[in-house]
């Protein structure tokens, strides 16, 4: 029953996205918001990998158990796995900038609470 695995991966991925969104909307500590953001980011990455998943197939690496002649019938889609690398790298870049700006802002206001960061309000 491979579809159980298929749907559980999708559920975990979407659950991570929703938890991250909830955290971004409701938390007040800017570092926790950054953490929630990376959670949602991880969920999106997992969803991208999941989109290339074919039930009953194996990793796209050719070795003794996956002969080169039959590779088209035996492996999952390698392209989403390659594309997700871009997503992960950009996510890391955004998270790093997020944390730096958050740390600077919290030092300026003396607190990590976003309610006290009024400089960007209008």
């Amino acid at each position: 029953m491979n579809n159980v695995f298929y749907w559980s991966i999708a559920s975990v991925a979407l659950g991570l996205v929703l938890i991250g969104l909830w955290g971004v909307l409701t938390r007040r500590n800017i570092l926790r918001i950054a953490l929630a953001f990376t959670l949602a980011d991880t969920g999106v990455n997992l969803l991208l990998v999941w989109s290339g998943f074919l039930p009953g197939r194996t990793t796209p690496i050719i070795d003794g158990s996956v002969p080169a002649a039959r590779v088209g019938d035996m492996v999952v889609d390698p392209v989403p796995q390659a594309l997700v690398l871009t997503s992960i790298v950009i996510g890391v870049a955004v998270a790093a900038l997020f944390v730096v700006v958050g740390v600077l802002a919290s030092r300026r206001t003396g607190s990590a609470d976003i309610r006290r960061m009024r400089e960007l309000r209008w």
Partner: protein, 229 residues
Amino acid sequence: MIRTVFGLVLVLVLALLLVLAVPDVQPREELEGVGLESAARGYADTGSANLVTGVIVAYRGLDTLGEVVVLFCASTAVVLILTLFPLSRRPSRPSTIVSQTSGVLPAPIILFAVYFIAHSHLSPGGGFPGGTVIASAFLLVMLGSSGVPNSLGRLPAVESLAGLTFGLLGFWGVMTAGQFLNNGFLGTGTPGTIISAGIIPLISLAIGAKVASEFSGVFAAFRNTGGTE
């Protein structure tokens, strides 16, 4: 309170929309299009047993170069901001456990990462994750001492050399095969052995060195709380 309720409502609405979309989603049974082409021809084209690495470094090498540039910009921005506005707080003294393990663990971690990078065309691995693992070893060293080791000042040189290697390997392809980042001009060797898959292992090493030095620089910028000057 109102914030929590609002967030919960929004998240629940989104979850409901996603659940409603479930009947339209079916697992794919067969590969098609680009996926099928990459899986079926990747081994013969690139000589890389790991088809994902073949796609990342050979078919989409230019895109990977772009990712390296993105990471470079982000790490430069982080280091620049933290150099201009240093966090003027003394780092806390490391606990006994951290300072003891930081003398033992980095060597096996770096050995694992080098294996990880060097076998990226044969087994799961690659320059980006391997470089991150190396940087984690350096982070452990930094956490185990009360500051930043002086030898980390050589990181920018490593980073520049790695980026230069990536670019020159690309132009080497222009000179010999008339195509930027051409993978085949060195010959693809016997697929499945360590010396194979054209320039994929070399590019993986370059990416690994670059990512490791960039992340180590970012960690050092965060750790060097008194500012560099």
